[in-house]
């Protein structure tokens, strides 16, 4: 009987432990790499960027790389992490969390999510987070270049979070670059046709068939921003910011 009771007790505790599914405890740094995907140098460089950014703008951005989500959806996992760490200032809720679930043998699916605190939802609508993930992170992550993915994302995030730049401008600049690329390719095309026609006049028969133009550098604009480098101190603790489920995610 007693044995039975103690077994039940043990079972209850075990079930509770499973149910609680704890998230990593609040760290003493902005970068937490549980998968060891970043080199020491990369991690230190990103940590330096993030802490300098937090010091100058009070926006806190944390990065978590984890080998497992315990079977949970990445957005709800990230939400619990962000809320329990309290990223961002309490009065502004200006925190952001980038979660990367790395590929492992047991769980070969790679996932990435950007979560925004309440205060950053305006500057970073979900669609913008999705754009950052799709344009700046997915390919790099698929190539196992985690440091590059994070740095490229931060290049976009920093000026926007600092209020120097907005999503609307990002879209506009992308369009402008696209137009410029289109203009340049048109120019090249015209020149090429002119050259070819001259050549074919001189050497009839040398160019067979009609010129067919296949594709062109009509790539969408990919804006790059200078990543500001700040001098800065170390990690000064998260401020207790709150998150409301804003953000987006992707797979790689």
């Amino acid at each position: 009987m007693r044995r039975c009771l103690s077994f039940a007790f043990f079972l209850a505790i075990a079930m509770f432990a499973v149910w609680a599914q704890d998230v990593p405890t609040s760290p003493r740094s902005y970068v937490v790499d549980l998968s060891h995907q970043l080199s020491k140098h990369e991690a230190a460089a990103i940590e330096h960027r993030l802490s300098a950014f937090a010091d100058t703008t009070s926006n806190q951005i944390a990065v978590l790389i984890t080998p497992t989500l315990n079977g949970e959806d990445i957005m709800s996992y990230g939400q619990r992490v962000a809320e329990s760490w309290g990223i961002g200032q309490k009065q502004h809720n200006n925190g952001m969390l980038i979660v990367i679930k790395s590929k492992t043998k047991e769980e070969p699916n790679g996932e990435v999510a950007i979560l925004t605190g309440y205060g950053l939802e305006g500057a970073f609508p979900d669609l913008f987070c999705q754009t950052i993930i799709d344009d700046k992170m997915i390919d790099e992550l698929a190539n196992n270049d985690y440091g590059d993915a994070i740095n490229r994302a931060l290049d976009v995030i920093f000026p926007v979070a600092a209020g120097e730049y907005s999503y609307a401008q990002y879209k506009k600049d992308g369009l402008r670059e696209g137009l410029m690329a289109a203009g340049i390719s048109l120019l090249v095309l015209v020149l090429l046709i002119a050259l070819l026609s001259r050549y074919s006049k001189k050497h009839p028969g040398a160019v067979s068939g009609k010129g067919s133009y296949v594709g062109g550098p009509f790539m969408g604009g990919s804006g790059t921003f200078g990543g500001g480098s700040f001098g800065g101190g170390g990690f000064s603790g998260f401020g207790g910011g709150s998150f409301g489920g804003g953000g987006a995610h992707g797979r790689f």
Binding site: D73, D126, L127, G244, G245, G246, A248
Partner: protein
Amino acid sequence: MKKILIVVLAVVAVLVIWGISINNRLVAADEAVSSAWSQVENVCQRRLDLIPNLVSTVKGAANFEKSTFTEVVQARNQASALSIDQSKLSESDVAAYQNAHDNVGAALSRAISVTVEQYPQLTATQAFRDLQTQLEGTENRIAVERNKFNEVVKSYNTSIRRFPSSVIAAIGGFTPKGYFTAASSAHANQGDAAAVPEVSFE
């Protein structure tokens, strides 16, 4: 005789002050519940507001059948027509609200999967993908705000049920509030709403 009177008065004064402070704490907890509820309403409204966008995006597709979204529009109308007394938020109020809005979520997720099936070319468009991102973000927000509401209600309900503050709660007319239940089917539907159906090649 006078001494006794003073002692009694002192005890009454202490009791009154204690009662007031408990009452104030309950009022603060009640306010917290109200504000958490407003957040829930905000994010649910956000989903309702997305529906016309969704319908007009899908309408652009060739041979679009209106019936695909009839159910969604009906559920949306029912949910918007529902008015909840924010000062009460009894168990049945919250359940009715949850039911109406879960219907919206479920209808949406069905409509989306039908759309994905019938108009595969549509799902490749940027507009549709943008809409899916927005919908998914809204579902996330709803889940988060419901959780937060439940937490606030839990602490409120605990304090009005626990002795001795329960006495003040009874005098002050504080009634217990309802929770959102994690209906497994509703939750599964929420997850589906934005996710593209997975194709397996087994």
